[in-house]
Amino acid sequence: MAAAISTTLSHHTSHAAVQRATHDPRWVRWTLTTVALLFLGCFLALPLAAVFAEALRRGFGAYFSAFAESDALASIRLTLLAAAISVPANLGFGVAAAWCIAKFNFPGKSVLITLIDLPFAVSPVISGLIYVLVFGLQGWWGAWLIEHDLKVIFAVPGIVLATTFVTFPFVARELIPLMQAQGSDEELAALTLGANGWQIFWRVTVPNIKWGLLYGIILCNARAMGEFGAVSVVSGHIRGETNTMPLQVEILYNEYNFVGAFAVASALALLAIVTLVLKALVEWRHAQARAS
């Protein structure tokens, strides 16, 4: 009798405590979860682990000596440089474009939105080729550039340009829906209170978009450091000069220098992980700011 009561009670409480969205049988839930985890493990965790395992195959000594090599260091410097230029450039562009699109109506607005999406739509290789066609030796401005002793293609400027091109939708795309949802009433209110454009931007607009902005910057940075296709076309693969980290990984791998290749790859992966942690942190802070 007592046992019967306690079973019904516990049954009852467990139902009340755990509100489930679905009522699928246990085996369905377990199977789906297992499939998802296996997939993640095979396609994400395992390769990532493999990168670090391969990089450390000959021990820490070999791993760190791979970074002591001047070409590897140069590639890290170049990647950081390209990101350091293209991310701020796209930050400025993205904020300006999102501001225009969200707060004003003008002819050609939909064309501008489509153009912003262009780098997402075309293959990165095409993006690189565009720059070769424009700035290359046989390109439109090629002769003029040679006359003035300026090198764009197969040099650092080309890499920065290509990186900027493929990453420019990130900030704008993040901000446009956010700013459209917020409308411009707060800016207009600040205007009637006597604020000038600069004050409105810094004191009303930026605080409202800061989390979206940070998120866009992080995504933009991740892509800037990892870009391969477009940069590969304009780089020319000059060792120690125009090889970014992804290109350096490819070269080392093709030369059967697996430890070196995976060491550089692991550095790149670490940068990506740091970026992801930052992104998660920003999302968490944003959710907290929303909730309060």
Partner: protein, 351 residues
């Protein structure tokens, strides 16, 4: 005159939003811009504030005699309260109200303590003391609206403009707040214009009502003037209920007190439901004969719907509950209707 707008024209593409509007707002008055949506009232308010601009070459805006047509919104010294308040969501109530003062150039900016005193005085004025550390999301609709009002008043505006100030509130809060706004206006005496589509709101609190329709001003007057003597069929229909009766039908029925010549004219007669007298049918007394179809008595007044037996057109009548009881009318009974007063716009007469 506190606000003077002359010949304001505004077109968006091929749509005329304002067709040469003139508006004069006397000093210290509370004026309602009343009209259905799309009548141009909000656009007119935004043009007065400088948030939008009238078509090039059209009209001027004067504040207290000074031409502000070319003065940008930020320098016009208007207090503008937006329909959805537009409070700065990342700032506290205190920071919101202080905003207009903290952005002043350093030489004009009051000291921090003076700003704080000012904000607290305003909070007291709008009865929100103690809420200065809250964020807008932590306030009710009525509280947000009063914060928006305090924020607008902090910069000592020359005129106060409110866009649908009660539009986003529920019915009960709306009633409370509009009475509060009237009292508040009597305390501060700042020239105020508010936009509304709710005739009850406009008639209850405004000193003067400006009725707008189709990009034009139809009539300007005190609430009683526009209600009792509407200048156009539109105003008649927009402000309260009205029966539109065919003048010819009335002529045949021999309605007493009517000018027979005028009643023969083609056209309509506008009669308020409370200006129709209803009595049990008596063949000897003149009037419109109608059948009582429906009695709606939930409220202080009883609303009767009658159908004229000749034209089959319906007539709405309002009588007090006690009058209805004395009449002893039931649904289906015949009744005789007589008109106390009404108005026609086709022929220039009134009965």
């Amino acid at each position: 005159m506190s606000i003077q707008a002359t010949n304001i024209r505004k077109t968006f593409g091929t749509v005329t939003v304002l067709g040469g509007v003139d508006l004069t707002v006397p000093r210290g008055k509370l004026v309602a811009l009343l009209g259905p949506s799309g009548s141009g009232k909000t656009t007119l308010l935004r043009i007065i504030a400088g948030l939008e601009h009238a078509d090039p070459g059209s009209g001027q805006i004067h504040f207290h005699g000074e031409d502000v047509t070319k003065v940008p919104a930020g320098k016009r010294k208007v207090g503008f309260v937006f329909q959805h308040y537009a409070l700065f969501r990342h700032m506290t109530v205190f920071e919101n109200i202080a905003f207009g003062l903290t952005i002043l150039p350093r030489r004009d900016r009051p000291a921090g303590s003076a700003i704080a005193d000012r904000v607290h005085a305003l909070l007291k004025l709008v009865q929100l003391e103690g809420l200065d550390a809250r964020y807008p999301t932590q306030l009710s609709g009525g509280q947000r609206q009063r914060v928006a009002l305090a924020r607008a008043l902090a910069v000592e505006p020359r005129v106060l403009l409110l866009d649908e100030p009660f539009g986003a509130l529920d019915a009960k809060v709306r009633k409370e707040l509009r009475r509060w706004l009237r009292k508040f206006h009597d305390e501060i005496h700042l020239t105020t214009v508010f936009v509304t589509h709710d005739q009850e709101e406009a008639l209850e609190i405004a000193d003067e009502v400006v009725v707008m329709n189709n990009a034009r001003i139809e009539q300007v007057g005190t609430p009683q003037e526009v209600y009792d003597r509407p200048a156009s069929p539109f105003v008649y229909q927009f402000l309260g209920n009205v029966n539109v009766l065919r003048a010819q039908a009335l002529a045949g029925a021999g309605v007493p007190g009517a000018n027979p010549a005028a009643l023969e004219a083609e056209g309509n007669l506008y009669v308020r439901p409370h200006d129709v007298a209803v009595a049990p049918h008596d063949p000897r007394s003149p009037g419109l004969v109608a059948v009582l179809r429906y009695i709606h008595a939930a409220g202080p007044q009883a609303r009767l719907t009658l159908e004229q037996i000749q034209s089959r057109a319906t007539v709405e009548v309002e009588v007090s509950r006690s009058e209805l009881a004395t009449l002893g009318l039931k649904v289906g009974d015949l009744a005789t209707l007589r008109l106390r007063q009404g108005r026609s716009f086709d022929a220039d007469y009134a009965i």
